[in-house]
Symmetry: C2
Subunit: 272 residues, 2 copies
């Protein structure tokens, strides 16, 4: 297994479709135990998720109910990162997001918006709201388009559902503007999690169910990218024209078992 020739010193994981199936109330088989094995083996790991229909609090609680032993500080989400970004640059957002996530931006000045934040807004993606976002962009040449991820779709209640990416593409096309991506597959987003583990990209494996955002994004950022056959995985993902996963595994448990089976030291051996 070529992808394991180099030691794995840390792991990044997606949440939805890797730990549990969106819309279902149970963990994916083996994933609770896989995390326990990682903790026992003392391999550092973090979660990088484009989930924008829940706050970190809501997501953390949902994971605990499913039996996962996860600390909130281990989870990297887009909305808090976007909030910091617009705060640092003094942008006033128009929010095209899910109602659950509006609270995250409650402190931001939203008068005379000069930026659009698009997230997985679900049924908030109305023609009227799309036009409001379009006008923030087209009425002011200096305004910016920020998207929380560029996912094409996700799986909910066993059905593929359109994600934020297509609606971002619509606004990019209409307003002739390229979106700033905060979230996967953006390199910056992965880097926050890597820095938190104090690891270099080539020391880390990213495990996810989204070929483009998880696998392609991780590989572009210098990591190895492993695709699981759970969540939104589709058989056609195995023959994608440009993105080739370093490995394709049945599920998270198989990925973790393979990584731990190498028996290599997962932490750098420090000089005595």
């Amino acid at each position: 297994m070529a992808w394991l020739r180099k030691p794995v010193r840390g792991i990044l994981m997606d949440i939805t479709g890797v730990l549990y199936e969106s819309g279902e109330r149970k963990a994916i088989e083996g994933s609770v135990d896989a995390l326990k094995m990682l903790r026992t083996a003392d391999v550092p790991f973090r979660f990088v998720t484009n989930e924008t229909q829940k706050t970190k609090d809501q997501l953390g609680s949902a994971l605990h109910r499913l039996g996962f032993d996860i600390y909130e500080k281990e989870i990297f989400m887009c909305a808090p990162a976007a909030k910091k970004f617009i705060h640092d640059l003094n942008y006033r957002p128009f929010l095209l997001v899910h109602p659950n996530v509006e609270a995250e931006f409650a402190e931001c000045d939203q008068n005379q918006p000069n930026c659009v934040i698009v997230a997985d807004a679900g049924s908030n993606f109305t023609y009227e709201n799309m036009n409001r976002a379009f006008h923030v962009l087209v009425d002011n040449d200096d305004s910016v388009l920020i998207t929380l991820g560029k996912g094409k779709y996700y799986k909910e209640h066993d059905k593929l559902t359109m994600d934020v990416g297509p609606f971002t593409a619509a606004l990019e096309y209409a307003a002739e503007r390229q979106a700033i991506v905060i979230g996967k597959p953006g390199e910056e987003f992965f880097r926050m999690a890597l820095e938190d583990m104090k690891l270099r990209p080539d020391e880390v494996v990213m495990i996810g169910d989204d070929l483009v955002c998880d696998v392609g994004g991780a590989q572009s950022a210098g990591m190895r990218g492993v695709l699981v056959r759970t969540g939104k995985f589709r058989p056609t993902d195995e023959n994608h024209a440009s993105i080739k996963p370093d490995a394709i595994v049945h599920n998270l448990m198989e990925a973790i078992q393979r990584i731990l089976s190498t028996g290599r030291p997962t932490k750098p051996v420090l000089p005595q």
Copy 2:
């Protein structure tokens, strides 16, 4: 005026934003007279419109009320062209269109759709309908995406409003499929009108308010493209990175005056 060095033997025109402003109930100044001048000068002309919120009947009546002397056979619209296309190829459509235009496809078998027809659906562009269209594409590798034009926006009640193009871009991104364009800027659509006039592209000038669909599309098809400063025209159109109109004029009247002022024979001189 370099663009008039070569004789103009026929004219194509957009309707909305050239003859009248969308949402307003009066003709753009001079446009009624401009058409009269063309008829008097015996210069052939046709209308090529991506209008998909009205049937040809409704559009013709609206134009007559505004004082335009236009025959329905002079108007080329996308929906009838799309209907012929899917009929010839045995496609069963899922319609993401404005309710006014649904009747155009009433005879088509719409069971178990294997193609999506997207038009300017307005408030029919809900998240639910977008997902239904997405599933027609993603559930069947052989299904096709057909879009009636790729316009970015149009002007209605003095306000820019998102057109079909962005929503097509969203479906293309989500389903990783390129849309078949029936309408401007598609060359095939212009060709129907050219053939009807029995003219070659290099003999014809296209006049429109949409830089990409009218001017860029016409130029790609081998015609000259003239931009009017009415309708959805925006000052930034004059400095577009890649599309350079052959001329930019105040309105339709100015374009027609300039063309007719050349005094050249507009019809080929046939051998005696």
